[in-house]
């Protein structure tokens, strides 16, 4: 029981929007599609839903070809970014819609539909709103109604396009936990789109990072966080410091940097690039080191420190206020990265190849 997407490609006019998507979603999984704006997340979701068709590739569910089926036959639940509730129907009628349009032979009776809607309203914690119209609801409440409407048809797969995109931070956090709870108690296979990595990592069983119409990495949130598979994923996940280094016998070397904390890598000798999170860099006062502190700025809990070497190398680090207490502008410091990711090659050839599937890496925890 799984959703299999293979070599999926879609172009709008001359612009390729999806370029060979490969993805397998297992029964009951909660998957996040994470990527920057324009990376093709919505397009992929719409193709899965049957609202759009690919130019090439396959899509099957449970062994049956879904590309040969209409949206209605696939029985998926789709929650639109702006909810797309029916404004002239009450919350109750919105949720009941999918049941009332069933062919007469399979349509449940009125009483049974009402009971289903009542159960959903209670389950989604909006039973007080049954007789309101969408215009009379807050954003978070509309989100719940939209989810209720999609769940009423007992979908095989639930698809959510930026479910929390239009909500404020607090409501987002609440609804996020709530959605996880809903998923855990229904077990419906769910795919949701987001460009907020915190959201993806907190909520999802597996995260799919997309960029420019290809899948950059698929994996468990921790796996992706600790071992970004491509330079894009590294940058996207906040490894914003990029340093040219040299590899020798599996160890990284760079002047003025203490790279002993980094594990050995199976990367051939030669030039490479080290990606670091500013928070993973520890500045250590050392009169002999080539770096000099040129800027110290406080962001409240953290100190943002800029260190520059004589050779023009500029590095940003973040330390807690307590740790950085003794640092002053002008001090010589050595830099000690606690963790980082190394990709072979110099600074420029990092642009990923256009052939997507070759670069695919399924990271498993």
């Amino acid at each position: 029981m799984s959703l299999v997407i293979s070599h999926l490609a879609r172009r709008f006019g001359a612009t390729p929007v999806l370029r060979g998507i490969e993805l397998e979603v297992r029964q009951g999984e909660l998957i996040a599609l994470l990527g920057p704006s324009g990376s093709g997340k919505t397009t992929l979701l719409r193709i899965i839903a049957g609202l759009d068709w690919p130019d090439a590739g396959g899509l099957s569910f449970d062994g049956t070809d879904w590309l040969a089926k209409s949206a209605a036959e696939r029985r998926i639940g789709f929650v639109f970014q702006h909810y797309a509730l029916f404004p002239h129907m009450t919350v109750r009628d919105n949720i009941a819609f999918g049941l009332t349009v069933l062919p007469r032979a399979t349509r449940p009776g009125q009483a049974q539909i009402a009971a289903t809607v009542d159960r959903l309203l209670r389950f989604l914690q909006i039973d007080g709103l049954a007789d309101r119209y969408p215009a009379e609801l807050s954003g978070g409440q509309r989100q719940r109604v939209a989810l209720g409407r999609a769940m009423a048809i007992e979908p095989r797969v639930l698809l959510l396009d930026e479910p929390f995109g239009a909500l404020d931070a607090q409501v987002r956090r609440d609804l996020r936990r709530w959605l996880r709870g809903v998923h855990d108690s229904t077990g419906t296979t769910t795919i949701f789109v987001t460009h907020d990595q915190e959201e993806a990592f907190e909520l999802a069983d597996r995260v799919v990072v997309m960029n420019g119409g290809v899948v950059e990495q698929i994996g468990h949130p921790d796996e992706i966080y600790d071992h970004p598979a491509t330079p894009f994923v590294a940058r996207f996940l906040g490894l914003t410091v990029e340093l040219p280094i040299a590899m020798r016998a599996g160890r990284a070397e760079a002047s003025g940097l203490d790279l002993s904390a980094l594990p050995r890598r199976a990367i051939p000798d030669g030039p490479a690039t080290l990606f670091l999170r500013p928070a993973d860099i520890q500045p250590v006062p050392d009169p002999a080191a080539p770096f000099r502190v040129t800027e110290i700025a406080s962001t409240g809990a953290l100190l943002r420190i800029v260190a520059e070497s004589d050779t023009g190398c500029r590095i940003e680090a973040e330390v807690s206020r307590r740790e950085g207490r003794d640092l002053r502008v002008g001090h010589a410091v050595g830099l000690r990265p606690a963790a980082g990711q190394i990709f072979p090659g110099g600074a420029t050839p990092l642009a990923r190849p256009a052939s997507a599937p070759k670069a695919l890496k399924e990271a498993r925890p």
């Binding site: 049957g50 209605a72 797309a84 002239h88 819609f97 349009v101 409407r149 048809i153």
Partner: protein
């Protein structure tokens, strides 16, 4: 502290004078251009008593004209609704070559004088026209009969429904319809339960405007009707005829019927506008 009198306190008095002047002008113009003529129609129609008024209205030719105009309105309305919705839907929901052209064609009747429409139909369907001989051979009578009047009225009223519905459909986008699609609704269910309720007021508004125009059209109809007394005279044509016959009370009586229809339309339009605001 003494209250400071703003120096501007003097200025507004002059402004106010200009204001009243403008308001007065607007009221006077409205009175003499719109209200007085309308009231005058009613007054003249009733000037010789209710009995004469009724007698004039019930004159066979006038009665026939009222019937003909109603028939034209009743036949054109559903056609206008269907074509208007279909066109708006096509343009709002699909991109296809010729979409812009379709939009222009739909609005064309607005920029063409109705009399030109009439003349075109004459040239097309008339005895010497392009299709004339073929129609005559098949014994189909279009000109100087109800079909011609209906066709030319359709031409003149065509744009109204699409023009009202299209902006709304474009603004709303197709997400609701797609949501209904994923929920398993059929095309007809989507139209009846999602699309139609969303456009219903714009649709009604367009229908009211189109009907008002259908009832009142003079120029185009006068060309294709042939003005056969008691047969192809619509209400506006009949009014002109009565007027030319110097039957002033008759003309005003017929005109008052048309005015009444216009007033009903106006009230409906205002109600719908208040509803959609």
């Amino acid at each position: 502290m003494t209250p400071v009198t703003p120096p501007a306190a003097l200025a507004p008095r002059q402004d106010r004078k200009a204001q009243w002047l403008l308001i007065g002008l607007a009221v006077a113009l409205t009175l003499f251009i719109v209200v007085v003529p309308l009231l005058y129609i009613l007054w003249r129609a009733l000037s010789e008593g209710l009995a004469v008024f009724a007698q004039n209205i019930l004159a066979p030719d006038t009665l026939h004209a009222i019937w003909l105009t109603s028939a034209v309105a009743i036949v054109t309305l559903p056609v206008n609704l269907c074509v208007g919705i279909a066109a708006a839907w096509l343009i709002a929901r699909f991109t296809f070559p010729g979409r812009k052209a379709l939009l222009t064609i739909i609005e064309l009747p607005f920029s063409i004088s109705p009399i030109i429409a009439g003349v075109c139909y004459l040239l097309l369907y008339g005895r010497q026209g392009l299709l004339g001989p073929a129609l005559a051979a098949a014994d189909i009578k279009i000109l100087f009969a109800l079909p011609g009047i209906v066709l030319v009225t359709l031409f003149v009223t065509g744009p109204f429904v699409a023009r009202e519905v299209l902006p709304l459909m474009q603004a709303q986008g197709s997400e609701q319809e797609q949501a209904a699609l994923t929920l398993g609704a059929s095309g007809w269910q989507i139209f009846r339960r999602v699309t139609l309720p969303n456009i219903r007021w714009a649709l009604l508004y367009g229908a009211v405007l189109a009907t008002a125009r259908a009832v009142g059209e003079f120029g185009a109809v006068s060309v294709v009707s042939g003005a056969i007394r008691g047969q192809t005279m619509t209400l506006p044509l009949q009014i002109e005829l009565l007027f030319n016959d110097l039957n002033v009370v008759g003309a005003f009586a017929a005109a008052s019927t048309l005015t009444l229809i216009a007033l009903v339309v106006l009230v409906l339009k205002t109600l719908i506008e208040a509803r959609t605001r």
